[in-house]
C-alpha cells in the first residue's frame, strides 16, 4: 500500500502551523512574488518566515515543499534561481517546479533536494512524466486533474516516480500551465505572474433589473438573480451565451469544488502516494477543519478501518461538489 501522505496548503506562517498541528505529512508554500502560482496579496512567506516555518515543521516531523511552479519570462530567470537558492539554504524538503529551465538549474545546483513536478507542467502521460524523471531526476509528479482512476492506475505502472493527486478544493478546468485566460482579460499572467482572476480586477455591480453582475476587468463573468449568491468571477466558472443558446450557461463548468473523499480508498489502492489539498488562499479555520478530517480518514483507511466519509463530504456542505474526471470520463 502507498504511504498516502497528506500534502496541505500553507498560505501564511499561521496557516502552516495550523496545518502541521492538524496532522499534515507535508505542507506546501511559496515566496511573496511571481515564483509561485498563488501570488496573491497578503499571502506567502518572506525568507525569514520560511526559515522559522521550516524549523517549526521539521521539529514536528512535517516536510516543507516550496512551490517554484511558474514560468519565468525571458530576462527574469534570476528571480527563480534566487528563490531556489534561498529555499535550499533554508532546508526545504522539495521544490515543486514546472519550467524546464528552473528544473535544470535546481537539478544541477541543488542535486540533494528532491524535485516534484508541478501540475503546472501538465504531464498527463507516462512518456511526459518519464521525460522529467530521466532528464531532471523528478521524484514525484502532481497529476493534472483530468485523469480517471483506471488511467492513474495504468500510469502508475509505467512511471518510475511517485504520484500525487489533488483530492479537495478548487476544481481547475483548464490544463494547468497552459491557460492565459486571466492574462487575456487583465494583463496579469497565470504562468508568468502566478495570478488567476486577481481580486484587484474584480467588481460587483447591481444592475437596473436587480441582478448582481460580477465582473473581471470590466467583463461580466456572471449575473446573479436576487435569490442567488453572487460568486467570484473566475473566467472558467462564468456564464456566457452562444449563438444557439440565448440563455447564459456555464460554458466550461459550474462553480463547483473538487471533493474526492469518497474515492480515497480507491486512489490509495491505485498507488497514489500523496494527496494534495488545494487552498493556500484559505483561512486557518478552513485549513484546520479540512486537514484534520482528511488526517482521520487516511489513518482509518491505513489501519484497515472504515473511514467516516460523511465528515469529509460535509466539508463542502451547501456548496456544489464534483469528482470531476476522476470518477468517469463522461466528465470530459
Amino acid at each position: 500500500m502507498s504511504l498516502a501522505e497528506l500534502i496541505c496548503p500553507a498560505g501564511t506562517p499561521a496557516a502552516l502551523r495550523t496545518a502541521v498541528d492538524a496532522g499534515a505529512d507535508a505542507v506546501y508554500c511559496g515566496f511573496q512574488d511571481a515564483t509561485n502560482a498563488r501570488n496573491f496579496p497578503g499571502l506567502n512567506f518572506t525568507p525569514d518566515e520560511l526559515a522559522a516555518s521550516v524549523a517549526y515543521a521539521h521539529a514536528r516531523g512535517t516536510k516543507v515543499l516550496l512551490a517554484l511552479n511558474t514560468y519565468p519570462p525571458a530576462g527574469k530567470v534570476d528571480l527563480w534561481r534566487q528563490a531556489a537558492d534561498t529555499g535550499a539554504r533554508l532546508g526545504v524538503d522539495a521544490f515543486i517546479v514546472a519550467d524546464m529551465g528552473v528544473a535544470d538549474y535546481i537539478a544541477r545546483t541543488h542535486p540533494d533536494v528532491r524535485l516534484h513536478l508541478s501540475v503546472q507542467a501538465a504531464a498527463s502521460s507516462p512518456e511526459a512524466i518519464r521525460y522529467y524523471c530521466e532528464e531532471f531526476g523528478v521524484k514525484r509528479v502532481v497529476l493534472p486533474r483530468i485523469l480517471t482512476i483506471p488511467e492513474i492506475r495504468q500510469i502508475r505502472k509505467e512511471i518510475p516516480c511517485e504520484i500525487e493527486t489533488f483530492i479537495f478544493g478548487n476544481h481547475g478546468l483548464m490544463v494547468e500551465g497552459r491557460c492565459s485566460l486571466t492574462n487575456y482579460l487583465t494583463g496579469q499572467s497565470t504562468n508568468m505572474d502566478g495570478v488567476c482572476s486577481p481580486a484587484s480586477d474584480v467588481t460587483y455591480e447591481r444592475c437596473a433589473d436587480g441582478a448582481m453582475a460580477s465582473r473581471l476587468a470590466g467583463f461580466t463573468i456572471d449575473r446573479f438573480g436576487p435569490e442567488e449568491n453572487a460568486g467570484y468571477p473566475t473566467i472558467c466558472k462564468g456564464r456566457y451565451t452562444a449563438p444557439h443558446r440565448d440563455e447564459a450557461f456555464y460554458a466550461f463548468e459550474e462553480p463547483v469544488s473538487l471533493n474526492l473523499s469518497r474515492l480515497l480508498p480507491e486512489l490509495i489502492e491505485a498507488g497514489v502516494h500523496a494527496f494534495k489539498i488545494e487552498g493556500r488562499q484559505r483561512s486557518k479555520s478552513y485549513v484546520r477543519g479540512v486537514v484534520s478530517a482528511f488526517r482521520k480518514a487516511v489513518d482509518d483507511i491505513r489501519a484497515g478501518r472504515e473511514a467516516d466519509i460523511a465528515d469529509l463530504v460535509a466539508l463542502t456542505e451547501g456548496q456544489k461538489q464534483t469528482q470531476g474526471a476522476f470518477q468517469t470520463k463522461k466528465w470530459r
Partner: protein, 304 residues
C-alpha cells in the same frame, strides 16, 4: 536574413475537402515560406484528414514550401500517445513538438518546439537546444521585452525563433470538450459538432459583449492577434519566423499584406486598412505583446 512567413496548423475541424482546397491555394498562391500541418487540438479529428497528408505535403513541397508536422498539444489517451510517437519516428518532414511526450519520444533528434511547449525564457530554450531543438515558437502571451531577450539567446544558439503575428490566440486547453458540452454532449459522443464553427464558436458575456471562442477542448481569444505594426521591430530583434494562424478568412490575401509590410512594399496604414477589410467585423488585438490585457489593441499614437 529575410524573415520567413509561416502558416500555423489549422486549429479547427475543417473538412478534408476544405483542407485540400485550402492547401492547394496556399501552395499555388500564398507568399508563405513554411507550412505546419497536422492535428494539434483533438485526436478524434485526425482520422478525417490523415489520409490526405502525404499528398498535401508533396503538393506544398513541390511549390517550394517547407513543411513541418505538428504534434498534439494534449497527450493522454492511447491513441494520442501513439500518434505522438509515430510522428516522432519520422525523418521527414521536420516535426514541431507540442507536448513533453513528444520530447521523450524524439530524444535528441532534431525537432522544433511548438507554442504549447512553454519555451518562456532563455534558460529553458538553452535546455531545449541542448536536447536537439532547432527552432522555437514562443508562447503567444509572451510580452515584447521578453521576446527580445528570448530571441537574442535563441539566435546565439543557432535556433530559429517564431512568434504568432496573426489569428486567434490559444488561451487554454482542457480535457473537456466545450463544443460538446454546449450541445449537451460529451467528448466521447460529440458527433463532431465542432465542424459547424469554422472560426470557433463565439461566447458572449450575459450583457452581450464578445469575449472568447470555443474550439473543441481549446479556448481561444475573440479577437485576432495582429502584430502587423510590430513586425519590423520583431524581426529587427532577432525573430526569424512570423506565424499566421489559419482563420476563416482569405489567408492568401492576409499573407500578402504581411509580406508586403515585411518587404517594405506596403505602407503600414494601408496594410492595416487592407487587413481589416479582409477580416470584416473582427477585432484585432496586440495587448500581450505590449504587456497588457491580451484583448487590448494598443496603437503607437494613443496608448490605451
Amino acid at each position: 536574413m529575410t524573415p520567413k512567413l509561416t502558416l500555423g496548423p489549422i486549429a479547427y475541424h475543417w473538412s478534408a475537402e476544405e483542407r485540400r482546397d485550402f492547401y492547394a491555394r496556399i501552395a499555388d498562391e500564398a507568399a508563405i515560406d513554411e507550412v505546419y500541418l497536422g492535428e494539434v487540438i483533438c485526436s478524434k479529428r485526425a482520422p478525417f484528414h490523415e489520409a490526405d497528408l502525404p499528398a498535401t505535403i508533396e503538393r506544398l513541397e513541390r511549390a517550394g514550401k517547407t513543411v513541418v508536422l505538428s504534434t498534439l498539444a494534449e497527450v493522454m489517451l492511447k491513441r494520442e500517445r501513439k500518434a505522438t510517437g509515430d510522428l516522432a519516428d519520422m525523418d521527414h518532414p521536420e516535426i514541431e513538438i507540442n507536448n513533453a511526450a513528444g520530447l521523450y519520444a524524439r530524444g535528441t533528434r532534431p525537432h522544433r518546439i511548438g507554442p504549447f511547449m512553454n519555451g518562456y525564457n532563455e534558460a529553458t530554450i538553452a535546455w531545449m537546444a541542448g536536447k536537439g531543438a532547432t527552432h522555437v515558437c514562443l508562447p503567444t502571451e509572451l510580452p515584447g521585452e521578453a521576446i527580445a531577450v528570448a530571441a537574442k539567446a535563441a539566435r546565439a544558439l543557432g535556433l530559429g525563433v517564431e512568434v504568432q503575428v496573426f489569428g486567434r490566440a490559444s488561451l487554454a486547453v482542457s480535457a473537456r470538450c466545450y463544443h460538446a458540452r454546449a450541445h449537451g454532449r460529451t467528448k466521447d459522443n460529440c458527433q463532431f459538432v465542432c465542424e459547424n464553427d469554422a472560426d470557433g464558436m463565439p461566447l458572449r458575456t450575459s450583457d452581450d459583449r464578445p469575449i472568447l471562442r470555443i474550439n473543441g477542448i481549446q479556448t481561444q481569444s475573440e479577437s485576432y492577434v495582429s502584430l502587423l505594426p510590430e513586425c519590423t521591430a520583431l524581426t529587427a530583434g532577432g525573430v526569424t519566423h512570423l506565424r499566421l494562424m489559419p482563420q476563416a478568412v482569405d489567408m492568401v490575401q492576409v499573407a500578402a499584406v504581411f509580406r508586403g509590410v515585411l518587404d517594405g512594399a506596403l505602407g503600414l496604414a494601408g496594410a492595416e486598412a487592407r487587413l481589416q477589410e479582409l477580416c470584416d467585423g473582427i477585432g484585432f488585438s496586440n495587448g500581450f505583446f505590449h504587456g497588457q490585457a491580451g484583448y487590448r489593441r494598443i496603437t503607437a499614437a494613443s496608448p490605451a
